[in-house]
Amino acid sequence: MTLLRALFSRMLSLVVVLCVCFFALEALPGDACTTFLDQDAQDPELLHNCRVKLGIDQPIPIRFAKWAEALLHGDLGTSVARDRPVAEVVAPHLRNTFLLAILAASVAFPVSIVLGVLAAVWRGTAFDIGMSAFFLVAMTLPEFLIATVLIFIFAISLQWLPAITVVATGAPILEVLPNIILPVAVLSLVMVAHTMQVVRTRVIEAMQSDFVETSRLRGLSFQRVLLGHALPSALPPTLNVIALSLASLLGGVVVIERVFNYPGLGTLTLQAIHDRDMPLVQAVVVIFALTYVSLSLLADLISTLLDPRIARRAD
């Protein structure tokens, strides 16, 4: 029931996002033709011909219907500024962004579990308080600021890592990897900041619960109770938060890519907005929204599958 409701709510979100995306972009002053023709846009005939050619002379509702219909078939349209199918333009950028996100998540997940458990075990110590303070700062500051300061420390002062990523958009993964250590570090730092406190809270809660106390009274060792009982019950909510924070951080990816000049989806979005390349912007927004929706559905699914209490809870 909960899952069905979540599915419905996510689908509704998706529809609202698509509408906002389409109409907000269409309401922009200027279109691909005024940008493309530049000075020549003064000439009404040239402007009209260009619009007819690109199919943007029709009224908005008709274009929305066409766009939505094509979208249902998986057709993202043609980029007007680049004159290539949107899917073709987007694909390598999408790969780069996913590479960044997946690497960051696979660093952030174990790190936040280990730090969270340690902070819970050493609750109230200097380690715990220091970690909380550090990650509170990391969580509240803008990503571009953290990235800039890290570039200053690691790329300029210490000169350990490159400050920007000089990779071609379609470069093989192995060539990209050594260049993106710093962006991955920034993204995982922000992720750990969001998830580590959740792990800590859940482990503390679990350690205080009755079943853990029973196990302790049965004479099981502290490690055994911690790793065998407390951690497993703390994991589902953690996975849930990680999936959600990954989804929320999609927005931050735009900034981080810009800071490092990384050829990902965020950089493409900014370029597309600048070029007034509506089909491309709309496609990118659709991808972002779809990823967000599937990640949060995944989060719901994880918490339902791993925690039967949620599935049975009456709404």
């Binding site: 979100s13 803008p142 810009r258």
Partner: protein
């Protein structure tokens, strides 16, 4: 639990979820002075008060204390290192970084303050209405709030920033709408928890009018939650706005603004780190100050 955004997640750590708390202490219980003393008692709260106070003074006196014209370019002192004439050095166009940093927060603070006020007042009215009315209105409103919350914040702001054309001030509605949805959620939950309490039931039994119940019983009890949450939204808005500025969608170039200054100077950070790091420090101290202050206030109000 699924409809959380970054800052709802953040505020989760700072203060207990609103629905879990029993009717909270309010401003009427303690005077503001006592509240301030309770905040300053904790080191984090003291830092928060200090930072916010410092920024408040700088914002109010800014135009009168700057040593140079923040827009005046000087080709002879491009990227000059800090000196007595330019304590924070100069930037790519030879402009004084100290003067630009002093006035660089004014627009961001003005815009986000208005935006936060809009978000808090609008969000609280909508949230409390949804909680009191319930039914279809509540359902529609919450689905809409969820839908907006499902967007990555920056993408949403970028799109809305384009929708409302006309400079940085046109971002106010975009910021207000996006961060207002979180306020709707928090104030609705707070109002629901207060509405189920015994003293509201008692007021109903006494036969009080619903407007009396709203203004005399519910509002005073949710005000603390909403104000503290509003401060956290404001910090979030500062983050969002300066990110937009950094990306070139906020304040227009010659005007000094922290996000824009960082974006402009970051390519020459190896030669002139001062032009990047001072605005970074200013922005970071303001956001952290607001967060620490809000956190301290939340704890002092008994949450």
């Amino acid at each position: 639990m699924a409809d959380r955004d970054i800052f709802a997640e953040a505020s989760y750590h700072f203060s207990a979820p609103a629905q879990a708390s029993s009717p909270v202490n309010t401003f009427s219980d303690r005077s503001l002075w006592k509240l301030l003393r309770a905040i300053v008692h904790k080191p984090a709260g003291a830092i928060g008060v200090l930072f916010v106070l410092f920024h408040a003074i700088v914002v109010l006196t800014g135009p009168w204390i700057i040593p140079h014209d923040p827009l005046a370019q000087d080709p002879r002192t491009i990227l000059a290192a800090p000196s007595w004439a330019h304590p924070f050095g100069t930037d790519l166009l030879g402009r004084d970084v100290l003067s630009r940093t002093i006035v660089g927060g004014r627009i961001a603070i003005a815009i986000t303050a208005i935006g936060a006020l809009l978000a808090v007042v609008g969000g609280a009215v909508a949230g409390i209405t949804a909680a009191m009315r319930g039914g279809l209105l509540d359902a529609i409103m919450m689905r809409l709030v969820e839908a907006i919350g499902a967007l990555p914040y920056l993408l949403f702001l970028l799109l809305l920033a384009n929708f409302f054309t006309g400079g940085a001030y046109a971002l106010i509605p975009a910021l207000g709408i996006f961060y207002g949805t979180a306020v709707v959620r928090v104030s609705r939950a707070a109002a629901l928890s207060v509405a189920s309490s015994d003293f509201v039931a008692a007021a109903r039994v006494r036969g009080e009018r619903s407007s009396t119940i709203l203004f005399r019983e519910i509002l005073p009890n949710v005000l603390g939650v909403i104000v503290v949450d509003g401060a956290i939204r404001w910090a979030g808005m500062l983050l969002g706005f300066s990110s937009l500025s950094f990306l070139g969608f906020g304040v227009a170039p010659p005007t000094p603004d922290w996000g824009l200054m960082i974006s402009d100077a970051r390519n020459v950070m190896a030669i002139a780190p001062w032009a990047t790091l001072w605005p970074c420090a200013a922005l970071a101290s303001l956001i952290l100050g607001v967060i620490f202050l809000a956190d301290g206030a939340g704890k002092a109000l008994g949450r």
